[in-house]
C-alpha cells in the first residue's frame, strides 16, 4: 500500500488481477477535496475483430463470431447468422427460426443459471461480507448443498440442450446462414422435453426462495445502481418477451413507452455511441435524448420492464408480481437477479411450447441463396442484453466492414453510474473503506457483464483497487 498525504485530484483504479482477456477495471476519480467525482467501469471491448473478418466470406461469420467469446458463443452465433440471413435476403424456414430460438433460450437458461447460482447466490446465502475464499460455489456446496446442486443441474440442463441440438463442440456450427444445417430428430426432441419439467421445478423453487430473502437486501436494493434510466430491448410484435426476433421498444423510468415497433435495421437511429475521451470503450446512449441523458439499460431487468407480458403461464404470473416492485419501471439493478430467475422460467416454458409444436420436426430447415443484399443486421437478446451484429459485404460476399454492439457495452453508462453510487458510499478521503471491493463486485455482478473474470468458476472476481492522485500517483491500493 502506497500512501501520500498531499493531493488535489485523484483517481482510484480497480483492476482485476487475472490475465485473461476481456477483463474489466474500475477507475474512480476524486476531486480536489478528495470526494468522489466520477467512476468508470472499463471493459476490454472486442477490438480488432473487424480486421479479423475483413475479406472473409460472410457465411463463415457465424462460426467465426462464435469464437470471439467463449462465454456466450451461442448468442454470437445466432446474432451473426441473422445478419447473414439478411445478406441472403431470403425467407428462412420457420422451423429453422424456431430451432434457433430454442438454442438461444437454452443458452439463456444456462447463462442465467451460472450468474444466479454459481456467482451470485453465495452473496445472498453466505453474506456479502463473508470470506471471499469461501464465498463461492464450493463454500455454497458445504453450507447449502441443495442450492448448489440445483444450480449445477440447471446449468447442465441448459448446456445439454445446446449440445443435443448443436453437437458436442464448445463452438457449435449447427447454425448457418439461411437456417440450421440439420433438422431436429424425434429422439432429440423427446430427450429435451423430458428434462424440462425438472428444470422448471428448480427454477420455480429458486424464485420462491429468493422472494423470501429479498427483504434482507433492502440496503442493496436501495444502493445497487438504483436510478432512473431508459430501458431498451426487443419485444415481440404483440409486446411479449422476445429474445430472437421482434422490434425495439424503449421505456422510460416511469415505465412509459417512449418508442415502439422500431425496426432493428434502424438501430443506428436510436442508439448513439459516445466515445469517452480517456476510454477505449464506447458508451451507447438513447439517441433522441442525447448523451449522457440517454443512459439506458439492457438485459433481463430491461426486458421485463419493456414487455407487456412474458407469454408463458408461470412466467406471466411472476412477471406481474415483479412489476409491482416499483410504480413505474423496476429501477434497482439488484433486481437483475430476480429478473433472471423469471427469464429462466420463461425460457423453459417457451422451449417446451416450441418443441411440442409438430412443425419443429420439419426437414425443411435451410434456405440457400447468394449475396443478394450488400448489408446485413442481426439483432437478438443475449442473456446479458441486446446484441447487434452488422456486416457489409462486397459483390462477391466478402466482408468489407463489420460492427458489433454487445450487451456489456449498452450497460456501460449505467454500470459506471452504479459503481459511482457505491464509491460515494465507501470512499472517504484517501482511504478505501472495507467492504468497497465486495460492493463493487456485487454491483458489477448484478449486471453480469460478459467478462471472463466475472464468470470465473470459482466465484469472486479478482480485483485490484487503486487510489490515484491526479498526477497518477498511487495513494491507496487493495488487492484480491
Amino acid at each position: 500500500m502506497a500512501k501520500r498525504k498531499a493531493m488535489s485530484k485523484q483517481t482510484l483504479v480497480i483492476n482485476p488481477v487475472t490475465r485473461i482477456e476481456g477483463h474489466g477495471k474500475v477507475t474512480i476519480q476524486l476531486d480536489e477535496q478528495g470526494k468522489v467525482a466520477d467512476a468508470r467501469f472499463h471493459v476490454t471491448q472486442i477490438r480488432g475483430f473487424e480486421k479479423l473478418c475483413e475479406g472473409r466470406p460472410f457465411y463463415e461469420m457465424p462460426s467465426l463470431m462464435a469464437r470471439i467469446c467463449g462465454i456466450c458463443p451461442v448468442s454470437h452465433l445466432v446474432a451473426s447468422a441473422k445478419a447473414c440471413d439478411a445478406i441472403l435476403a431470403t425467407r428462412i424456414p420457420t422451423t429453422a427460426v424456431k430451432l434457433r430460438t430454442v438454442l438461444n433460450l437454452a443458452q439463456l437458461v444456462q447463462s442465467h443459471a451460472l450468474s444466479f447460482f454459481h456467482l451470485s447466490s453465495p452473496d445472498f446465502l453466505l453474506g456479502m461480507d463473508s470470506d471471499p475464499a469461501r464465498r463461492n460455489i464450493f463454500g455454497l456446496a458445504e453450507a447449502h448443498p441443495k442450492m448448489a446442486r440445483d444450480g449445477v443441474r440447471l446449468r447442465q440442463i441448459g448446456q445439454q440442450i445446446i449440445e443435443k441440438l448443436a453437437g458436442k463442440r464448445i463452438h457449435p456450427a449447427w447454425v448457418v446462414a439461411g437456417g440450421v444445417n440439420e433438422p431436429l430428430a424425434v429422439e432429440t426432441r423427446d430427450q429435451i422435453l423430458a428434462v424440462l419439467p425438472e428444470a422448471l421445478q428448480i427454477a420455480t423453487g429458486a424464485l420462491d426462495w429468493f422472494k423470501t430473502v429479498l427483504d434482507q437486501f433492502r440496503e442493496e436494493i436501495r444502493t445497487f445502481a438504483n436510478f432512473p434510466t431508459y430501458f431498451l430491448g426487443l419485444v415481440s410484435p404483440t409486446g411479449e418477451l422476445e429474445h430472437y426476433n421482434g422490434f425495439f421498444r424503449v421505456v422510460d423510468s416511469r415505465g412509459n413507452i417512449v418508442a415502439d415497433k422500431l425496426d432493428v435495421l434502424n438501430y443506428a437511429d436510436i442508439i448513439g455511441e459516445a466515445c469517452e475521451p480517456d476510454s477505449y470503450l464506447k458508451s451507447p446512449y438513447y439517441k433522441p435524448r442525447g448523451y449522457p441523458e440517454g443512459i439506458y439499460r439492457v438485459g433481463p431487468l430491461a426486458r421485463l420492464n419493456i414487455a407487456d407480458r412474458c407469454g408463458t403461464p408461470r412466467a406471466d404470473q411472476e412477471w406481474a408480481e415483479f412489476r409491482e416492485l416499483d410504480r413505474g419501471a423496476v429501477l434497482s439493478s439488484f433486481y437483475y437477479h430476480y429478473a433472471r430467475l423469471i427469464e429462466i422460467i420463461y425460457g423453459i416454458e417457451r422451449m417446451e411450447q416450441l418443441l411440442q409444436a409438430p412443425d419443429i420436426l420439419s426437414k425443411h430447415v435451410r434456405a440457400f441463396a447468394g449475396t443478394n443484399n450488400p448489408e446485413g443486421i442481426g439483432v437478438t437478446e443475449a442473456p446479458r442484453g441486446t446484441l447487434i451484429h452488422h456486416y457489409k459485404v462486397d459483390d462477391n460476399g466478402l466482408i468489407v466492414w463489420a460492427n458489433m454492439i454487445i450487451a456489456t457495452g449498452h450497460n456501460n453508462l449505467a454500470l459506471n453510474r452504479g459503481v459511482l453510487q457505491v464509491a460515494k458510499h465507501f470512499i472517504n478521503g484517501t482511504k478505501i473503506e472495507e467492504g468497497m471491493l465486495n460492493r463493487v463486485e456485487a454491483v458489477v455482478r448484478a449486471f453480469d457483464p460478459c467478462l471472463s473474470c466475472s464468470t470465473h468458476a470459482l466465484g469472486q472476481m479478482a480485483l485490484q483497487v487503486q487510489l490515484l492522485a491526479p498526477d497518477g500517483e498511487v495513494l491507496d491500493e487493495l488487492r484480491r
Binding site: Y59, P62, S63, H171, G178, N181, G370, N396, L398
Partner: protein, 239 residues
Amino acid sequence: MSQAVRVITLTMDGREISARGDQTVLQVARENNMYIPTLCHLTGLARVGSCRLCLVEVKGINKLLPACVTRVEEGWEVSLNSERLSKYRKSILELLFSERNHVCAVCVSNGHCELQTLAQTLGMTHVHFAYRYPRLAVDGSHDRFVVDHNRCILCTRCVRVCDEIEGAHTWDLLGRGVNAQVITDLNQPWGESDTCTGCGKCINVCPTGALVEKGKSVREMTKQRQFLPYLTLMRERRW
C-alpha cells in the same frame, strides 16, 4: 503396360515383398497395406513429387527418396516409418502450417482436411517455426466456388486435374518460392475466367479448405474423390 515387366523382390520395414519392376515404392506399399503419408500425390493425376511427405529411406542410399515417384529396385531394403522420417515429415507439415493461415477451428474444411488429418496422424503437436501470417485474399468472384489462398499448400492438384482430366487448364502457378500462388487464367478473378467450365473437379481434389464450394459453413465442406480413378480408367480404355 505393353511388354512383360520384371518381377523383383525387396523388403519394406523388414517385410519380404515381391513387386513389378515398373511400380513405385508408394504403389507397392499401398498394395501391401503399408502406410506412407502423401499430399501432392493423387492417383489418377500426373506425379510431381513436390510435397516430399512420402520420403522413404533405402539402405545404402544416402538421399531420402520420394516414394510416389521412385521405382522399386531389386533387393532394396526400404524403411517407411523410421524416427528420422517421422521427424522430417513433421517438419514439412510444420512448414506448411506456418507458411499460410490455417485456422482450422473456423475453416470450412475442418474435420475433412487432408492436411489436418496428416498432422493428427503423424503426431504434429507444435509448429516450431514462426508463423508468417501473410495477408492473402479470398477470391469469391466465381458463382459457385471460392479460392482461399490462406489455406493453399501449393500441391498443384488443382492445376493437374484441370489440365489433365478436364482439359481446361484454368489453373496455374504464379511466382516462385514463398511468393508462389495458384492463379486462374492470366491471373484474373476466377469469375472472369474464359476457360473454367465450372466442372468442380479442382474443388474435389484440393486436399484443404483452399478450393471450396460457396456458402459452405465451417466443417461443412466434404470432398468427393471417387470420380477420379473412374474417369482416368475410362479415358485409358477409350484412348
